[in-house]
């Protein structure tokens, strides 16, 4: 690489020689030129530039030492290398940081609820709101590709809710949360539950500014989900194993499941609950109260 202009001579760079200069090279020399610069001629160097020069001739030999360079022109489009090292998700991460600062200022515990479709996020959320709303104020952002069905279920609890329909997008992004907050106006000292689009892959990558990602896994799904979708379980701080009332009817090994989850993320806090029978919910509620510092 050229240290002056940063142009590269890498293999992928094509050096083109514009035609107008070609003509210039072929142009016959004048008598004057011939006289002044005996044996003056042009070379096209490997970097594409043209050097016209003459040589001092000594006894039929010519040497490139003492040569007189008449003109040197750089012909090719040069390449400038710009070093960026810019995180691809910078825009999202910056907006998430703004959201996080807002939540901190308002003492809002923002939770990003993630799971595969049908794990029971909404059912657990409805039960949680119903049981705790006399103590803690809740608001909800619902993310789904389409319909307002989940938002209607939340609305039935008298909790403030905004539905985001992501259409073709498979996850929520920080910008969507920021826009939703303008409509939702969550109260100070409250819990904001963000129900992400049902998907165990993409939401792991997108920070929304939440305090924690809570991954919800139902016992109807198979105990190896944590190692099949490790990014999500790694990115989460809490795992809630739901539908445990169905365990007698299933071949689901709870211990294996939790071991898989802890292998992927040794710091994971695990709850086992049934939003139908209420089993195990007390621990989850206590965690919410403790984390919301209300």
């Amino acid at each position: 690489m050229c240290i002056d202009c940063g142009c590269s001579t890498g293999a992928n760079i094509k050096i083109s020689k514009p035609e107008s200069i070609e003509n210039q090279i072929e142009k016959p020399q004048t008598e004057q030129q011939k006289y002044s610069f005996a044996n003056a001629h042009s070379h096209i160097l490997s970097d594409g530039s043209v050097v016209t020069h003459s040589h001092k001739i000594t006894k039929d030999k010519h040497s490139h030492y003492n040569e007189e360079v008449v003109e040197q022109k750089s012909l090719r489009p040069t390449t400038k290398i710009v070093s960026l090292e810019k995180n691809v998700l910078t825009v999202n991460d910056n907006l998430a940081l703004e959201n996080r600062n807002f939540f901190r200022k308002q003492n809002i515990l923002a939770l990003n609820l993630v799971s595969s479709p049908g794990a029971g996020k909404t059912t657990l959320l409805v039960r949680t709101i119903k049981e705790l709303q006399t103590e803690i104020s809740f608001s909800v952002i619902e993310g789904d590709q389409s319909t307002t069905k989940d938002a209607e279920k939340i609305k039935a609890t008298n909790c403030d809710v905004v539905q985001i329909n992501t259409d073709t997008a498979c996850h929520l992004e920080a910008k969507m949360i920021q826009e939703s907050l303008n409509h939702l106006k969550p109260k100070k000292n409250s819990i904001l539950a963000i129900e992400n689009v049902g998907n165990l892959v993409c939401p792991a990558l997108f920070d929304l500014g939440e305090y924690a990602k809570v991954v919800i896994l139902s016992v109807t799904e198979g105990e190896d989900k944590p190692i099949k979708y490790p990014h999500m379980f790694r990115a989460s701080s809490v795992m809630i194993l739901t539908k445990i009332d169905l365990l007698p009817y299933l071949d689901f090994d709870v211990t294996s499941c939790i071991n898989y989850a802890l292998n992927v993320n040794p710091k994971l806090k695990v709850f086992q609950v049934s939003a139908v029978t209420g089993e195990g919910l007390k621990d989850w509620f206590n965690w919410l109260k403790k984390s919301s510092k209300i």
């Binding site: 202009c5 142009c7 590269s8 992928n12 760079i13 022109k73 750089s74 012909l75 489009p77 040069t78 390449t79 400038k80 290398i81 710009v82 070093s83 960026l84 090292e85 810019k86 995180n87 691809v88 998700l89 910078t90 825009v91 073709t168 997008a169 498979c170 996850h171 998907n199 892959v201 993409c202 792991a204 990558l205 190692i227 490790p230 990014h231 790694r234 802890l262 292998n263 992927v264 993320n265 040794p266």
Partner: protein, 116 residues
């Protein structure tokens, strides 16, 4: 396999490249993707040409440098290589801190400059 987040990420790559292209034609974009970043390089390549159309990146070369996964074991204080974002060290510990392989960044651009 879902290409959907790779599509958004490819658009981000192109937006970042345009933002830093100083109005010049972009000849090459170098992107670093960690092997533990949950991004499929092939999916990015698949999306790139379509996303680059009618932008200064049209016909540019996308170079993806894949960065291998590396973790530090908190128990035995050694480094181990990872192919997924978790693992068990030879010492038996799963208390691993990922120190490499989660990169997702536009490393550099090659811009065309006409200078005669």
């Amino acid at each position: 396999m879902s290409f959907m987040h790779e599509l958004g990420i490819t658009r981000n790559i192109i937006a970042i490249a345009i933002e830093h292209s100083q109005g010049a034609k972009v000849k090459k974009v170098v992107v670093e993707i960690g092997k533990l970043a949950a991004i499929l390089p092939d999916a990015i390549r698949f999306c790139f040409e379509a996303c680059a159309k009618d932008t200064p990146l049209e016909h540019s070369i996308l170079e993806i440098r894949e960065i291998p996964g590396l973790a530090y074991c908190n128990q035995c204080k050694t480094r181990i290589s990872l192919s997924q974002p978790f693992g068990i060290c030879n010492c038996g510990s799963s208390q691993l801190e990922i120190i490499q392989g989660q990169e997702l960044q536009v490393k550099e651009l090659e811009l065309e400059e006409q200078c005669v």
